[in-house]
């Protein structure tokens, strides 16, 4: 696993799976598969709380349940792109001002798949090349400062 450095407001996670893109894509977009792995450690994602409408504009909803407290964490995503087995993306309007998650499935040609998951909650208007260049230089300084706190 290799992770790109994290900018504020952005997250990129790269993983390699021992399965073909069709299989990994299906796992990530099918409720009967999602229920086995969607909740992080200590959380379950019951099948009845998962909704996948596999098309742009379709719903992508899950309810994660804390195994100890029973507390529920619903996520309400809407697919932006749905292009099996290459990519899908979804937005969650109610998270940090509208978070978008895009996952690209790269066929490594040897039965393995590299997934690149990119999350951003920076509104698109701020994602221009100029804004990005500004982000990088300023955040380097900001990170240096934060390290001293």
């Amino acid at each position: 696993m290799s992770d790109a450095p994290t900018e504020l407001g952005e997250l990129t996670i790269t993983r390699i799976f021992e399965a073909r893109p069709e299989v990994v894509f299906e796992c990530m977009t099918t409720p009967s598969h999602l229920t086995h792995f969607w909740g992080p450690i200590g959380m379950s994602t019951p099948l009845e709380g998962i909704t996948v409408e596999p098309r742009p504009g379709g719903r992508f909803e899950t309810v994660m349940v804390n195994d100890e407290t029973g507390e529920e964490y619903p996520t309400n995503g809407v697919f932006v792109e749905f292009d099996p087995p290459r990519t899908f993306s979804f937005t969650e309007a109610d998270v940090a001002g509208g978070m978008t998650t895009a996952i690209v499935f790269n066929d490594l040609g040897d039965g393995r798949t590299e997934t690149v998951t990119h999350q951003t909650n920076v509104p698109p208007i701020f994602m221009s090349p100029e804004a990005q260049a500004g982000l990088e230089t300023s955040f380097v300084k900001m990170d240096a400062y934060l390290a001293t706190l």
Binding site: I13, F17, F37, V122, L135
Partner: protein, 115 residues
């Protein structure tokens, strides 16, 4: 645009001038005049930026009506970086479990193949 604290932090940080102001304030408090100096923008423009930063809780301002020096407040920035770290953790664990799930699928398939 949503106005929960995280959204306010991220949208306040999305502007290069505001980030430059914060970097300056991280070195110590400053007045509006001092903050405007390195930028080619009006005092009014700087004041607007300060209002956005103040709304996001990233700066506080002194009570002295005339100078009102600005202070950097790191807490919202820490909340933003914490949130990113938590989110990364969730996805890492999720993918760890997907890996296990894929292994189980392969294992079950191989079992089926056996006579």
């Amino acid at each position: 645009m949503a106005n929960d604290p995280l959204s306010l932090t991220f949208s306040a940080l999305a502007d290069p001038t505001r980030r430059a102001i914060l970097v300056r304030l991280a070195e110590g408090e400053a007045t509006v005049n001092e903050l405007a100096e390195p930028f080619d923008i009006s005092l009014q423009a700087v004041s607007k930026h300060l209002k956005v930063l103040e709304a996001a809780g990233l700066i506080s301002r002194g009570r002295d009506a005339q100078y009102r020096p600005c202070h950097f407040e790191p807490a919202p920035l820490e909340a933003a970086t914490d949130w990113i770290a938590r989110n990364r953790q969730i996805w890492t664990e999720r993918f760890d479990q997907l890996e296990q799930h894929l292994k189980r699928m392969t294992h079950d398939k191989e079992k089926e193949k056996r006579p």
